[in-house]
């Protein structure tokens, strides 16, 4: 008790997971439950001429079959988008309906056409194959840069040039001028390839309707249960919100893919009422590949302008962002306000401009995936920096150092106003770089590289220094930017009569360890043992409200909401204690779980005060009984973690295979509650970012077929793809939230992709290699090695 903040406390949630007692949605069995199989379009773009469900309906064990027509007849439009980004000229964002099941046309491989509900999963699958769909296959387009050209096949007949919106940010005139006056310009054109999140738990949902109470329960593997309830009730089905309970129990990883409101959630709820029985749907892995929101997929031209000294003068970006066939929940925000606003990086660049077009294609929807926009921003900035350093014959670390924004703590020195709307809270960018260089023994590494080259080995060193925005966000600000939701967080802290504490948080843990971290905060503040605190999340019936977990916001926003309730409890507890001790509140101090009259040994413990609050026989006049407070925390600003990463690679001369020899990550996430958990978040993020650099990439062919539709075809990192990571930190507290924390969930993903690509290019630069498309597979690397007649 006490001093728990900052300790690597072992996780309290572990035991159920290591003993097989976790409770994931697919583990839940309800009497009378039926199983659903969705019939999905095998074509990327096809007119649905006819759907014949008669054979499926006649199959023994089938309970019901519904099609897109049933939803159209019921007047159910589709799942909504939660963010509006209008055109540069003020025209409204083009936002097509995203049907629950399609009736007229399939617009990507995996679009749902019908649902078969049966007594068990085997029968549902058998019968789904008896649904006869007649398709008229149409031409498809999958690349966003192609999709916006005149004459490209249209995803939605009424949306010209497949353009959802265009958007710009920054000062175009000043930026163009900077390029005119530049001594050196570095240019890269690349694809930040599409990724498939692949949480290991497939998405799953159960709909349960109670005919007597007219109430629904939705169990769903979501990062975001309250928002799912709000969107589904208010914007899709028109069900009164208080009649719906959404439960997201244990959830097996999300990485962004489980933030969004999915059609299957609507399907199981609506169907459960039609058949008056519970309906379960669990994705098969190929459905996860086809329909879990994908990430990235930007086609970009990026340019950087420098003066003679290597000082940055300007950054100019043109990006075509792929939205997929529809607009997913947060999709418009990802390439705009989570990407364009991060283009300052950690440099003093005086002029920045981004021009962006968001395109519909005949592919699955693209939305937030770990980092969401920020990895794309860091990638282009950091690839440009390393390339520019090479072109100008400067050391990549020194070029960065030269251009860093000087340290500012946000208290003595003001926050840093960027050219692209955001104001950074606090930063010490040279500090993380110095620490990383030291940890890596940079000088030694360069010597080793020289020696390796003499021996004919191909070794490279790559940098990435980044800043990101977390803790989304001040609600008023994001509202002005097009968010259709507030982005605060809620918490209820309930002190039970015996002094035990239950915390209800609107954040949702699906691996982040909130049950431990949040308990540490509460136990530390109340001076009680960790085991006296229980954290509850993921149930709209018990948690007051919640905006969910994404964008590394749980601790910065959710933790801050808990802190507000803690302070209210301490204040009220102090008044009760003062009454019991017959003194003034001002005479009391609270420490080690008790209120003590200053300068005396007279004290009353947290447990006694708790009991008094619920048995108020001897009680302050006018004080309400009970010791429980709900709070909503709306942040004053985003938080801005930053860091410096260094990758060391060696490339096999014969095969082109890249081996990651060392990976050094120094991050600054503000204050740290549980270092062990933060390190774990960094490790996992690194794996996904390195995966993008070397292994992962979704591939659609010209007809819109997903060629990487299984774990056999889409390469994810396995245990033997990595060395042990070398992880360290500096601490620059966030000046504007009560815990001084910034968020740690995405740092690794954001920083590692450019670091690894830079290392590979560094290794191959003596061969004249300037760029290699991601993922940098042995084949691509080998070809690049041999392209210049080497």
């Amino acid at each position: 008790m006490g001093n728990l903040i900052g300790q690597s406390v072992k996780r309290v949630e572990d035991k159920r997971f290591i003993t097989g007692k976790g409770n994931y949605v697919d583990d839940i069995k309800i009497p009378g439950m039926t199983y659903a199989q969705i019939v999905r379009s095998p074509y990327a773009h096809a007119k649905i001429v006819k759907v014949d469900t008669s054979k499926a309906e006649a199959h023994a064990g089938v309970v019901a079959v519904f099609t897109g027509k049933d939803f159209a007849d019921a007047g159910i439009g589709g799942v909504p988008c939660g963010w509006q980004v209008d055109f540069k000229n003020g025209d409204t964002m083009r936002e097509p309906p995203h049907p629950i099941l399609v009736a007229d046309k399939a617009r990507h491989v995996g679009d749902g056409v019908a649902i078969v509900i049966a007594e068990d999963r085997y029968i549902a699958k058998d019968a789904s194959e008896l649904v006869e769909v007649e398709y008229e296959v149409l031409d498809a387009v999958t690349n966003p840069a192609e999709a916006i050209k005149e004459g490209a096949p249209l995803v939605h007949d009424d949306i010209p040039n497949n353009t959802s919106f265009d958007w710009e940010l920054g000062d175009k005139v000043a930026t163009d001028e900077a390029f005119e006056n530049a001594h050196h310009i570095t240019t890269l054109e690349f694809v930040n390839q599409r990724l498939i999140p692949n949480a290991i738990e497939p998405r799953s949902a159960i709909g349960l309707y109670n005919e007597a109470t007219e109430e629904y329960t939705l169990y769903t593997s979501s990062q975001n249960p309250h928002l799912i309830r709000l969107l589904m009730c208010a914007f899709v089905l028109g069900i009164p919100e208080h009649k719906v309970r959404v439960v997201s129990p244990d959830v097996g990883g999300g990485f962004g893919s489980k933030i969004h409101h999915y059609t299957e959630e609507v399907l199981v709820i609506w169907c459960s009422k039609q058949i008056n029985r519970p309906v379960k749907w669990t994705a098969e892995r190929n459905e996860s590949f086809m329909t879990d929101c994908h990430g990235r997929d930007h086609v970009t031209k990026a340019e950087m302008a420098f003066d003679e000294e290597g000082m940055l003068l300007g950054l100019r970006i043109n990006t075509k962002a792929n939205m997929g066939a529809y607009l997913s929940t947060f999709a418009p925000a990802v390439p705009t306000y989570l990407h364009g606003t991060l283009l300052q990086g950690l440099y003093t660049t005086p002029a920045i401009h981004i021009d962006l077009t968001a395109a519909f294609t005949h592919t699955n929807v693209v939305d937030a995936y770990r980092g969401a926009g920020r990895p794309e921003a860091a990638f282009l900035i950091e690839r440009l920096m390393d390339t520019a350093a090479r072109e100008m014959n400067m050391d990549p670390a020194e070029l960065r150092r030269k251009n860093f924004i000087p340290p500012f703590d946000g208290v003595e020195q003001p926050g840093y106003q960027t050219q692209v709307a955001l104001q950074y809270d606090s930063g010490n960018y040279e500090g993380v770089l110095n620490k990383a260089l030291e940890l890596a023994d940079y000088k030694g590494l360069r010597e080793e590289q020289k020696k390796a080259r003499e021996e004919g080995r191909i070794m490279g060193i790559g940098f990435s220094t980044y800043v990101e925005a977390c803790g989304i966000a001040p609600s008023a600000l994001v509202g002005a930017l097009g968010a259709r939701a507030g982005l605060y967080e809620a918490a209820n802290v309930r002190v039970e009569p015996t002094g035990k504490v239950t915390v209800f948080t609107g954040s949702h843990s699906h691996g982040q360890g909130h049950e431990t971290t949040f308990a540490q905060i509460v136990a530390d503040n109340f001076g009680i043992p960790l085991e006296d605190v229980k954290v509850v999340h993921g149930d709209t019936a018990s948690v007051p409200f919640g905006m969910g977990t994404y964008g590394s916001r749980s601790l910065a926003v959710g933790g801050s909401a808990i802190m507000l309730s803690i302070e209210k409890i301490k204040a009220k507890g102090g008044r009760i204690a003062a009454h019991l001790l017959e003194c003034s509140v001002d005479d009391l101090e609270f420490a080690d779980g008790k209120w003590t009259v200053k300068g005396t040994d007279k004290s009353v413990g947290f447990g006694d005060v708790s009991l008094t609050a619920y048995v108020p026989h001897n009680y302050p006049d006018g004080e309400e009984p009970g010791l429980e407070f709900s709070s909503f925390y709306d942040p004053a600003n985003f938080t801005f973690p930053f860091g410096a990463h260094i990758a060391v690679v060696e490339i096999d001369k014969e095969t082109g295979k890249v081996e990651l020899k060392r990976y050094i990550a120094v991050d600054d996430v503000g204050n740290v509650i549980n270092p062990m958990i933060v390190d774990g978040q960094v490790h996992g993020g690194l794996a996904q970012g390195i995966g993008q650099a070397l292994l992962e990439g979704a591939v659609y062919d010209e007809a819109g077929q997903l060629l990487t539709g299984s774990m056999l075809d889409y390469t994810m990192p396995r245990a033997d793809d990595f060395p042990m990571f070398e992880v360290d930190r500096t601490v620059t507290p966030c000046p504007h939230n009560p815990l001084g924390v910034k968020g740690a969930g995405e740092t690794g993903t954001i920083a590692s992709t450019p670091a690894v690509v830079n290392a590979v290019i560094d290794a191959l630069s003596p061969m004249g290699v300037k760029d290699i498309r991601m993922p940098m597979t042995p084949e691509r690397v080998w070809k690049a090695m041999h392209q210049n007649g080497n």
Binding site: K10, R11, E13, D14, K15, R16, F17, I18, T19, G20, K21, G22, Y24, D26, D27, K29, R121, Y122, P197, N198, A199, I200, E201, P202, D250, V251, G252, G253, F255, T282, E284, R285, H510, G511, Q512, G513, M676, I677, D679, G680, H683, G684, G685, L686, A687, Q688, S710, M711, L712, M716, P717, R718, A719, D720, F722, M724, F725, G748
Partner: protein, 155 residues
């Protein structure tokens, strides 16, 4: 047509009637109610469904229940004995070898066989031994340390 099958799971005798096509993982989860064994991919890629069958780690999504007739099965629920965690379970907890927990049962069951075959593995041997199991949360870093923890504990 249904077949009668019986097997020993975590030391207890179970029998049931299944269609020949029912996968062992569905029998374990749906018929026996042992939901600690997870399904991550249905195609033998992810390893979340790994169990021990007659002492060998197998992916139970790729075995029919009828093939397990008479077998000795151990699932994650059978790993702790008398309330005491197996050294691997302890290792995953001590070394923060899990985050969301979904891959964890399969990781632990695979590691049982890994350590049975090689009680004192190098880091590279552990990484190679875990190649058949995906984890998307941990970057494998602390999973490797968890297996090392168990190896030194069992030594």
């Amino acid at each position: 047509m249904k077949h009668s099958i019986s097997m020993t799971v975590n030391g207890k005798e179970y029998s049931g009637e299944v269609e020949p096509r029912v996968l062992l993982v569905h029998f374990i989860r749906d018929h026996l109610g042992l939901t600690g064994t997870h399904i991550g991919c249905d195609t033998t890629q992810c390893g979340a469904c790994t169990i021990l069958m007659d002492g060998a780690a197998i992916k139970s999504c790729t075995v029919f229940a009828v093939q397990a007739e008479g077998a000795q099965i151990t699932t994650i629920e059978g790993m702790a004995s008398n309330g005491e965690l197996h050294p691997l379970q302890e290792g995953f907890h001590e070394e923060h070898g899990l985050q969301c927990g979904f891959c964890t049962p399969g990781m632990i069951m695979t590691s049982v066989e890994l350590l049975n075959q090689n009680p004192n593995p190098t880091e590279a041997e552990i990484r190679h031994g875990l190649e058949g199991n995906y984890c998307r949360c941990t970057g494998y870093h602390n999973i490797v340390k968890a297996v090392q923890y168990a190896a030194s504990k069992q030594a």
